[in-house]
Symmetry: C2
DNA sequence: GAAATAATCAAGTATTCTATTGACTAGTCA
DNA sequence: TGACTAGTCAATAGAATACTTGATTATTTC
């Protein structure tokens, strides 16, 4: 009857790769763009050795690839489909796990989040320059890819950037995606300083998944 | 900075659920329709207790649900999206793991497999009755859902059914999907008996995933 | 009520996975 | 050359998993 057992064993390799919270976080970070081991470790709060080993597991499942240049090894997703897969997993979690839904609700309920309804209209206004779109992720991730017309404004440097912003112009801030706190923080800060600011829930991966274009490199500054 | 760590922990529940070959096989079977523990155990070649425990893990990840009626507990996918997720995982495997691709090639290369190009035309002819569409899975799965116009012809009973078939009419056989051997066997048998038969790679889940309608219940016999 | 059956539970062992530690390799820069 | 750095490797202890076996819980049937 020649069973297809070996197939399930292979697919389980992928399952095992995404069976650890630490690896999921690393994958999520890599969805934002390539990064060095050290940078990943720091962002995820893991030791270097531990991070290296998790990356090695992900590599064993062919989900990421690393390339050494100089002292650093830069890891990146082996394929854009890996990012889609992560998003599918996340969507399944949202749908099936009440716990995920509860965590997400904390984000969505926040009053500063943009309603999907308003999204289209606002993005149109961004294009016309009537609204400012801020990318509040670290500059590294902005460089890897960002939304069209977005200005890089890392949360850390936001305070010093405020001086250059016109106080009347409405601001839309985004970060890594629906699970990320950076944009929430940014909106809080901006509002405290008297700006009109809202949060865009989408990050670059979500934007890309909708088939919309992203900009790679320095872009507008 | 209120990290989103708990989120990754939750998503890892899903990852762990699909980190075992046995559980993947059970999921795959459940994509064909609801089944009892005993029936799943037998099909997957696992002990009853082991199967029960794996199902319990899947239930813990909210991927399946069990319902007791009489002596039997019938398990089913908790949601159709679980089946889509399994297919996404499988697609990622096909794309990223050379080993999966190698296994699949054995199926696709088989000369009796229908080319995707011919598929549309042939299905049109099935609808017109010019071609016979055979569902060679166990009757239980046919009952759970089958393709329109398909006739139930479990591989085990195929031999006795041949008498009722007209030898000139071309036959298309399908089973659980691209990984399943049933239709391959059926085509081999049919050809040995002098019939013109080809294999349709799609199963009910693939058909459904393409947004096409399926028939639930007895259907044509 | 007693026997039979489907499934689950509980316990035990072998295996695998995780995170840490310290050693090691390779590349850089003075 | 020698000091320094990023990352990997190797070994380890502890935690989690897998599968088996035998007992237990419901439910049906006689």
């Amino acid at each position: 009857m020649s069973t297809a057992k070996p197939l399930y064993e292979q697919l389980a390799r992928l399952g095992k790769a995404v069976a650890s919270p630490a690896r999921l976080e690393l994958l999520d970070l890599l969805c934002q763009g390539p990064r060095t081991v050290e940078s990943l470790a720091q962002e995820a709060g893991l030791s270097i050795a531990n991070t290296s080993q998790h990356l090695r597991v992900l590599h064993g499942a062919r989900l990421v690839e690393g390339e050494k240049s100089g002292l650093f090894v830069t890891y990146r997703l082996a394929d854009p489909s890996v990012c889609s897969f992560f998003q599918t997993l996340r969507a399944l979690g949202e749908q099936r796990l009440a716990e995920v839904d509860a965590i997400l609700r904390q984000f969505r309920e926040a009053p500063e989040t943009l309603e999907p309804v308003e999204k289209d209209a606002l993005l149109d206004r961004i294009q016309k320059g009537e609204v400012i779109l801020l990318d509040v992720r670290p500059a590294e991730e902005y460089r890897a890819a960002h939304l069209p017309f977005a200005v890089s404004a890392p949360l850390k440097d936001l305070d010093s950037l405020l001086a250059t912003l016109r106080r009347r112009k409405p601001i839309v801030a985004y970060c890594r995606g629906p699970y990320c706190v950076l944009a929430k923080e940014a909106v809080r800060l901006l509002r405290a300083r008297g700006f009109r600011a809202v949060r865009l829930e989408d990050g670059v991966p979500e934007w890309r998944a909708q088939g919309l274009p992203v900009v790679v490199g320095e872009g507008s500054k």
